[in-house]
Symmetry: C2
Subunit: 459 residues, 2 copies
């Protein structure tokens, strides 16, 4: 009873609790636009976007037809790439134009990136000339670069100003960005010299010079820098915003932490999906065929690897027909190796991503993993040796099983660490390709060690 109460109390706090979702669905089915607006209105744009993503495509179409007048830019910004084109295609041009006009340029760029040319043209034509130029300049930077991520709206002050001059200037400004956390000090050629936090500015006396209250943590990012690097820098140095400069060191924009947090989140998702062989940009909104297309290449590679393992086993058909119990036990060796390899591999991929694993400690980590592989191998060799002896009535069989386990768990630990390190050194993403390499190695080595030892000792 207590548990039920706390559950219902919790769902009341959830913006997308099942009752509201059901009521929204009912309003859409009834074609009741006023009721729909009343139900959706109190929700944050991010929650409305989630609502749209969770709908079946047909329901989403009906929803948009009824709600389109109320769609604003924030919702478009929040919507997942996978359905954004569909949503934008469903909106009347004037609604779309109205929606994007309110957005800051970095958000417009983020929307534009994933659209086809005709939709891009519609959105660009809705912008003011100045905004359009800013967006087109941002789009000229490479994809996944700091230049695409930054907002071009910056708040700057000459390095020689005082606190009072700066505050007066801000009060007189016709327009300021929604989000800004520093005033960036620039020289006459617009090169950033430092920055002052707004907290410092507010709490300092008017006559204090800006250059006397700049932050130690000041650093800049080049516009061509990769966004993954940007996310790393924000996370590592706890930045809240960071000026972006061009090749000449001139200020071209600023990246704020919410953008960096987004990138960090996407990078994590990418690592996780790549490790599982799912492929990038997977989304629950994708249909069956889009999902199949993304997953089938990885399954195909696994098929090739599995056939390689089958080829190894086929060499020992004589051994197996001499002692059929080998066929039952051999997957144990392969499966334990695969699991141990995945453990080492995941730790290595994660440590490479966070830069905890570098050239200076790689050898130490490899040695540690080799030690872990040996210890685990011996532990499970004892267990399975005992099982082989006790259940299958053969001490020799138990010994072969145990020896194969030691050998394969040692191989797994080494491969799980060395393979991602090598791929990373060669410039590949270690998350993308390590898994198949490692399990192929542990399968082939596991079957070969077990059946090979068996053919020498048991047959």
């Amino acid at each position: 009873m207590a548990e039920f109460d706390s559950f219902s109390a919790e769902t009341e706090d959830e913006p997308l609790d099942p009752r509201r979702v059901a009521a929204i669905r009912a309003a859409v089915e009834a074609g009741d636009a006023a009721r729909l607006t009343g139900l959706v209105e109190p929700l944050h744009a991010a929650d409305i976007a989630d609502l749209l993503e969770q709908m079946a495509p047909a329901d989403r179409r009906d929803f948009l037809r009824l709600y389109s007048g109320e769609m604003d830019g924030d919702i478009l910004s929040e919507i997942d790439d996978s359905i954004r084109e569909e949503v934008i295609g469903a909106l009347p041009h004037d609604v779309l134009a109205e929606a994007v006009r309110d957005l800051e340029t970095d958000d417009v760029v983020d929307i534009l990136e994933d659209l086809e040319a005709p939709e891009q043209a519609i959105i660009l034509s809705a912008l003011t000339a100045a905004d359009r130029a800013a967006v087109e300049q941002a789009m000229a930077y490479p994809e996944y670069s700091a230049g695409r991520l930054m907002q071009r709206e910056v708040v700057v002050a000459p390095a020689h100003w005082t606190v009072g001059e700066t505050i007066d200037h801000l009060r007189g400004a016709e327009w300021l960005p929604d989000q800004f956390y520093h005033v960036i000090l620039v020289d006459p050629r617009m090169r950033p010299q430092g920055y002052v936090t707004l907290g410092r500015l507010l709490s300092s006396r008017r006559e204090i010079a800006l250059r006397d209250i700049v932050e130690d943590s000041f650093r800049t990012i080049e516009a061509t820098e990769e966004e993954a690097e940007v996310a790393y820098i924000f996370n590592q140095y706890h930045l809240i915003s960071c000026p972006v400069v061009d090749e000449g060191g001139r200020l071209v924009g600023v990246i704020t932490i919410d953008d960096a947090m987004n990138v960090l989140d996407e990078e994590h998702e990418e690592d996780m999906l790549r490790l599982a062989g799912v492929g990038d940009e997977s989304s629950l909104s994708d249909g069956v065929l889009a999902t199949v297309r993304r997953r089938i290449p990885w399954l195909f590679i696994n098929l090739v690897a599995a056939n390689l393992a089958a080829l190894v086993i086929a060499q020992f058909e004589g051994t197996i027909s001499g002692l059929v119990v080998l066929a039952a036990l051999m997957p144990i060796v392969a499966s334990m190796g695969g699991n141990a390899g995945t453990q080492s591999l995941t730790v290595a991929v994660r440590a490479l991503a966070t830069r905890d694993l570098t050239g200076s400690n790689a050898w130490r980590v490899i040695r540690r993993e080799a030690g872990v592989g040996l210890v685990n191998g011996c532990a499970f060799a004892l267990v399975m040796g005992g099982v082989g002896w006790g259940i299958y009535g053969s001490g020799l069989l138990g010994g072969v099983l145990g020896a194969a386990l030691v050998f394969n768990l040692f191989t797994a630990a080494l491969a799980g660490t060395v393979v991602p390190l090598l791929l990373d050194r060669l410039g590949f993403d270690p998350a993308l390709s390590s898994g198949t390499f490692v399990t192929t190695i542990t399968d082939v080595v596991g079957f070969f060690a077990f059946l090979g030892l068996a053919s020498m000792i048991l047959i």
Copy 2:
């Protein structure tokens, strides 16, 4: 040549480039404290912490003996939990006391959480009475709660104040937090009523009332809320800071985005490691035995599962001895099922974590996955049916292999989605336990389907 140049240019930007690390190591070996300080001094605290984490334990001891006088609180804060106790144990008490005195209370709490009682006592005794009381109050909140995460230093103003009154108050304040992004409006009972961004405060005229420039995005978090929920709220609603309240709705602290970003990062790591069966709080600094202890339970569970699969195979020993090629082909069916299951599982676990997968779209996602499993199954059935026919010379064998693949890939897709959904519904972490369940299911079903069909049709 061009590539070599760009490589060396890049490493010069890296704070921990190999040459600096080598020079630091040399200075430690030579016992040259002045040179060591000169080399470490320009580094950010986060980089010094990384340097310590990447060292072998013996090197770290030598480093700390030489550098201990310069250790400050920021470095302690940045150091990974796994070696923090070791580092703190290596510092003289007066250095440690000096180091923690500069930190804000949330950072002290973060350090304290992972220490044993004697080290906790040393640190607590170094604090001023007011700070100690604040830290002890924070430690009274449950672990992994918002109360532990928040800083207690808040910047507030009565809701009836004007911009000018607020700025004068801030200028007169003896002390302000390092990081603050909003002034929180409170009623006379310290209940938050809204907040004003510092940007708004700076750009508004002095006579404007604070309550006229509050943000729409205002929300509060309860101190007992779980930190995972805090991270979700910051990410979902793009918050930069958020007031924390007690049960009575009174302001007790504030959480800033850098803390939330940290939690998000840890949650991701946890999901990734749990999916791979590594266990929590894994670190590259752990020794062999600590690592073995963390990984062996998962390998043991896998061993039980693998023995279950072996038991299934053992039922078909007669079938296998009649047609030994079955032993070579059966791992293909199991391996393809395991891979497809891991794909579905990872997508489901990630979608549950981001709350894209909810009660309202679960059925649709399950139906989609079932469709994907069927399509993939049929595709690979065709390929392997052909291989079975072509290479092993038996159309019937190809047919059995294909049918088993369809059946197992369909099962894998379903299990990969339903198992994490069920675990989540039952209150378990889907990342923690799904993997073993799903691969056990695909192994058992794969072997059973393939060998069962073979025994009926081929023998």
